[in-house]
């Protein structure tokens, strides 16, 4: 049994026939080739697969592709515009917030949501905001610095 879905990903329209059980993350990665979001656990516990759906950061391993029918999806690949990095990407680079890089795309998508909801977050609020994303390399400190730097830049 297949179902046709129509959705927008990174500003482009897609129409595909998919199995209802196909996870959104597998649709994005294996069908559309957006391999930026990663699969770290498949159980919504690590956040590596985080993308933005209709303005909300969601863990795309816990959503079916058919649930994204009619929606607007943004992945890490859609952030930079005309070769210009998003300020959060830039801040992750400047503050050395990525080591192995595997959690990074999901972490950046979550971090963007943190400062969208709270443009001037405290360290504690940042840590709370990214709690659902596991990073095993950085110890989070440089990530917190990056989110602060991006927030400061946005507020400047």
């Amino acid at each position: 049994m297949q179902k046709t879905i129509n959705l927008t990903v990174n500003g482009k329209k897609y129409s595909d026939s998919v199995e209802p059980r196909l996870l959104l993350i597998h649709y994005l990665r294996d069908v559309l080739g957006f391999t930026g979001p990663h699969i770290g656990c498949e159980t919504s516990l690590c956040g590596a697969c985080t993308v933005n759906v209709d303005g909300k950061a969601i863990k795309s391993c816990s959503m079916f592709a058919v649930q994204a029918d009619g929606r607007d999806v943004l992945t890490i690949e859609g952030l930079a515009k005309d070769g210009k990095l998003d300020p959060m990407q830039d801040a992750f680079w400047s503050e050395h917030a990525a080591q192995c890089g595997f959690c990074t795309p999901g972490m950046i998508m979550t971090a963007k949501q943190v400062i969208e909801r709270n443009p001037n977050p405290t360290d504690e609020e940042i840590r709370h905001g990214i709690e659902g994303n596991i990073c095993r390399c950085t110890g989070y400190q440089h990530i917190v610095n990056a989110v602060k730097a991006a927030a400061a830049k946005a507020g400047a």
Binding site: S94, Q99, C100, C103, Q141
Partner: protein, 774 residues
Amino acid sequence: MASPTITKTEKLVGKRIKRLEDPRLITGTATYVDDIQMPGMHHACIVRSPHGAARIKSIDVKGALDTPGVMAVFTGKDTESVGPVPCGASLPGLRVPHHHVLAIDRVYFIGHPVAVVVASDRYIARDAADRVEVVWEALPAVTDVEKALEAGAPAVHPEWPDNTAFNYHQEGGDVEGAFAEAEVVVKQRIISQRLVPNAMETRGVVADWRSGDKTLNLYSSTQIPHLMRTLVAQMLGLPENHLHVVTPEVGGGFGSKLNVYAEEALMGFVAMKIGKPIKWIESRRENFMCTIHGRGHVDYYEVAAKRDGTITAIRLKLIQDLGAYHQLLTPAIPTLSVLMMPGLYKCQNIKADIVGVFTNAVPTDAYRGAGRPEATHGIERMVDILAAELKMDPAEIRFKNFVGKDQFPYATATGLTYDSGNYSAPLEKALEMVKYTELRGEQQKAREQGKLMGIGISTYGEICAIGPSPATPAGGWESATVKIEPSGKVTVMTGVSPHGQGEETTFAQIAADELGVNLEDVSVLHGDTAIVQYGIGTFGSRGTAIGGTAMYFAIQELKEKVKKYGAMLLNSDDVTFADGKCTDNKTGKSKTLAEIAAASYRAMKLPPNTQPGMVATYFWEPPNFTFPFGAHIVVSEVDRETGEISIKRYIAVDDCGKIINPMIVDGQVHGGVVQGLGQALWEHAVYDDTGQLVTGEFMDYAVPRATKIPWIESAHTETPSPVNPLGVKGVGEAGTIGCSPAMVNSIVDALSPLGVRHIDMPLTPEKIWRLVHA
């Protein structure tokens, strides 16, 4: 015509340079194994044992094979000719069980692979795996390492009923004499629990058999591409030069990918059988069950001392939980603990007995620190226990026992030679940062108010830059090829295999400084056995200290060649190479590196006895390990009502030798400390008595999350290593090694008014609450 001049005079080593690898990571355009797609690619799902120990009565694959989209199913009988999974370590009398890639008639741990299903789609492969019918006869299992040594315990391998894989003894000095004369002896059983490394990228393999060339392309998330090529070629019976290993972007390793696993050879076997590319991506659940674990020690320590606090002898009985098999380095890991037993202290009487024990669990092997965190936790806990016994200050007892800064090189009783050090310096700095004297006063007041405040110190040493070849199972050198291209751009091919450590940047910083070119003009390649000369890989904090040094020496050879070409082009016999150009010392005329490189490839004229081109390869054999050190201090408070711990301050002063990029070094320290906190406070791989892994998911196994982590105040002292010309020592594991004893010492200190002398990790709130309310 030569390209525009690319010279620079600004030095990059020592600066906070943004990483060159980051643009692909922050834009989601890096290629990890699971990002690889190929025409006709199939997917594998592995059927695994649900029992800790069982006999396989029968396997029926018909249901799986009948599933539309399934191409093949293979069981242990099909793969008998593959393997065995290699153990690279050797010890006298070591018992090595034959480790098939798929179990044949018996399984030894939860997750033990028994069959592989191959299908056109990953969902179909997983569906069909559920249709493989295995009839099991469950057997008694043993997972507790001390119970496994008891008479009558279930035998993990029936041929060795005592579950003992090896006994190892090492001794230096006169231990018995020192204990006989001791004024004070302290003893403690100390556990370093089993941990799951949990790289965020699980393991994964893509195998692609090129039947026309009889060549296997193997893409694997590993730390050791070349060793994998040698070993997997042996497992598959392929000529080594017909196996091509590619390490794409690797999402963390921490030692767990310093290995050759059954799945790498198994996917090669499958690809050769089906004639299509095959992909296997480990699930997180499989990663918990089937990728190596770390630690797994039960240690019995005895320390002899004088009443003035001088440590005179250390005796250790080390029981190592090996799991069911030896993976690549499993039995070697506890021997590293023994080497580091004296820590930073000048004790010359050391005795250790290791017993390596089989259990019905996944093998233990190298996990960040590999043997050194266990040793450091042991000695640093014992020093605190001794200080408490003698009513001495824990800082004072450490200063008293440190190897003096004028004693280097220092020969230990365990056969090592510490290269350089100033062990008091980081402790002095850390005490100053925390305002130690005032802080003890504050603690006194807090205690009077009934608060449980603790101050914990650890002063750690580690053995890095592993290491001289005679001390390693597979060669401890490293290689580099450096090319100055005709345009003057620089390409470095390193034998190490970075996976988050940032060596594409730090190596470029070193090369740019040496050759006087811009950072962006250097490209560092690694991890492809068809591109890079044989190398050993990234582990044991060796990347920059050994791989960087190999590159440094290759560059020195090139500089000589550049000078020869420069002298020829300038018609001079007196030239200097600096800042990216060769200058005639008499006339002041110069040629740029790009002009010289172009001339070397164009080769209209050659200097005497000189080949065309500008390429040098260097294999560097280190004369010794390096020995970084440092001091960590944790200030904490325990909540009497809940047993919860809050960390008020975390101070890390590390000395990793010369620092190439302070930003990257801080990142390594932070990450290391947080993995150390994970062990100290939360993480524990728990098996029940039947061999079931109780903590087999992120839901049950608590890796550190951002809210749980204190701000880490990081500082450094810089004592160069004389072992290599860069003066670097290594920093990848330092944080992990220094952390856990500082954390535990802090909580023991907090609870010491209640009579607590030792607590085993992890320091869960329940455990602490019970101690407070005992």
